[in-house]
Subunit: 407 residues, 2 copies
């Protein structure tokens, strides 16, 4: 497995583009619509938010994915198209205009949105921009770059990755772009993530691999505990790598799923690290748990704790807040069997053993927690299961961004 | 029912005091130990945090409350005595020293703590201060005032209330002091609340009334979603009002429970309004729900949403975040049947009808949300149940306070 450039255009037979069409009226510089298109029909799968309030595009996509096939994904980053008038009709209009440009059926076009909730999607504005968007499609890295930029909102860093691996004797590519930042506490998919691959794989196996992957990547991050109405993670597989098509859970499936997980975990980490206003990526590793689910519940409670996030912002080794967050997670465990340590590039320091505080070097702890990437290592005495979750600190900047997001 | 002065000393036969004994070494001005004492044995009841990680005082109190009786409560506000060495032994030592001064059994003394988690309770420091603490006990309003000040940590406002009502033909008094501020998302009791009454009521009925009360008051507030290890709400009833002792759920019980709820709801609101760094008290009223539980789940999700809290901080009428928080609450409801309005002393404004955004006067909305107390009114189309919850906004100040709490 090798990390490469090219994002969603790294796989054979995929093109992408992103331009400003005016969904966001405020900033004419900001690209706001992206398109990812495949030269041939693809196996496709997607997972969506479990929020009971769902964006309209999710209903459209579910229809369009009934046959497990798709050709393109169109995304706007200015309007959530959630709780808005004519949501489904507007989403469908955009799919139709993209299909007309690509010469495929509207049912082969998926759509996703992110932005303000409750305002009508300016479908006609997007329609006006679609011809230029399609005309500029490129299968070079610059196409993926444009698309990755076009889906950003308050993100400060573009999330774009690709890798190459060998499956069934053929070189296979996998790439993705994502956006995160705020309203990130995914429950099923995450804010927005689009993956492409030239691997030959059936729609059923692709869906299976995507579900496995989302569980251990995007569903294990949190920025602010707010599960969005728009979370979407979708993948297109066009089969152009020429490997024997994966139609069952064989060794090739495992190799593909491992590659997909590696890619998605990196994208998820990048999302957590670039949480709105964040200064620290927090990795929480829970080991010695009675099950992976138990470790995950405890770890997610820790990375979601506002007080723990504030402590990390202040580089304060306040491990009591970590144990406290574990305690209210709803998971049962023996507090007297808990060890906690903080670690980073600057070293590691045990701060709690068997549920009791240790005397530790406060200066070293401060240095460790001042690093941009910090780990909270929690060891239980319940069993041997382990889980890693990712979050970020909460900062003045988060408040500033979200005190004035809509206006 | 009439609001009166005097806090926990408003009821006949109760004394209180609060002094600096040095549990908090940093600030010699800050009172840090409080004592509430009754002249005669009291019926007593308490509820505690449901956090799996519990402060040591909770285990001691449960023992001491087995007979449903108590005479005094001693509280320190510098050390949580949670996850700390010798937690139970130290708590017991403090009870013993108080009992020696008051001439009662150590089993009649309850204890509570709040402060940093994981450091050993300086029991000997507290023991040294107990004689002066007991000697200064007063049944005037100044005694309650000293105790209310001594239990404060990052609170900016003292929480102290009392009321007078008639039960069984006798004038009965009920008073309380509380602390809130951070790590407030009570699940059973709240951070710390101590209530006294001269009403004659059995321990069993007192417990029943306390449970009913906590459910509709302290359990309906949130500051930061972090359920503390130390939440404690306890009540002492000395019977000195001379009413016929309440031993069953009769009319007198109802009158007592109503008075207790009125007092507790005001204390809970005060805690939410004085949440760490808060500039706004947020009252969320959910009506038209299928059950009170459903309304409560939805309302608590809204007041706990970091993004909603940040929007109120910015006086931004971002109702999409309210609907989004309802959507991820886990409660089922029809999003297309939801109306939302914002209200305050400056007026009220509907912003969402049947799940869709309304065109509204942004200037008026801003004026409404700039008031210190704002309401989020949510109306569902599921039934006729209703619930009110209280929270606060999240501010730069919250981050500042919690980025550097321990050191």
């Amino acid at each position: 497995m090798k990390w490469i450039d090219g994002g969603v255009c790294a796989a054979e037979g995929f093109q992408a583009n992103g331009i400003h069409v005016g969904v966001k009226s405020r900033n004419a510089e900001k690209k706001d619509v992206a398109l990812i298109a495949a030269q041939v029909p693809c196996s496709a799968a997607a997972v969506y938010t479990k929020n009971a309030v769902k964006a309209a595009h999710i209903l459209i996509d579910r229809e369009h994915l009934k046959n497990g096939q798709a050709r393109a994904v169109v995304i706007n980053s200015g309007n959530a198209n959630a709780c808005a008038a004519n949501g489904e009709a507007n989403a469908l209009r955009v799919c139709q205009s993209v299909a007309a440009q690509l010469g495929c059926s509207p049912e082969d076009v998926l759509i996703a949105s992110t932005g303000v909730i409750g305002q009508e999607l300016p479908a006609s504005v997007i329609e006006t921009g679609v011809p230029a968007l399609a005309a500029g499609l490129s299968h070079t890295a610059s196409g993926s770059d444009a698309a990755a930029n076009a889906i950003m909102t308050t993100d400060t860093v573009k999330k774009e990755l690709a890798l190459e691996t060998v499956i069934g004797g053929k070189t296979v590519h996998l790439g993705g772009i994502a956006k995160g930042s705020g309203m990130i506490h995914p429950n099923m998919g995450t804010m927005l993530c689009f993956l492409t691959t030239d691997c030959a794989i059936s729609a059923a196996m692709l869906r299976e691999a995507l579900l496995e992957t989302v569980t251990v990547s995007f569903n294990r991050i949190s920025v602010d505990g707010d599960t969005s109405t728009n979370d979407t993670c979708c993948i297109l597989a066009n089969g152009m790598a020429g490997n024997a098509c994966i139609t069952e859970k064989n060794g090739d499936y495992t190799a593909f799923a491992e590659a997909l997980k590696a890619l998605s975990v990196r994208l998820a980490r990048a999302m957590a690290a670039d949480g709105e206003g964040a200064k620290h990526l927090i990795t929480c590793i829970v080991s010695g748990a009675k099950s992976v689910e138990s470790a995950e519940t405890l770890g997610k409670s820790v990375i979601s704790s506002t007080l723990t996030k504030a402590a990390i912002f202040g580089a304060d080794a306040n491990w009591g807040r970590v144990l406290c967050a574990m305690g209210y997670s709803g998971e049962s465990f023996d507090p007297d069997g808990v060890d906690i340590a903080f670690a980073s590039a600057a070293g590691s320091i045990p701060v709690c053993e068997k549920g009791r505080g240790l005397v530790f070097d406060e200066e070293l702890a401060k240095r460790i927690l001042t690093e941009p990437e910090v780990e909270i290592r929690i060891s239980l005495s319940e069993g041997s299961a382990e889980c890693t979750c990712w979050g970020c600190d909460i900062t003045y900047e988060y408040i500033r961004i979200n005190g004035d997001y809509r206006t």
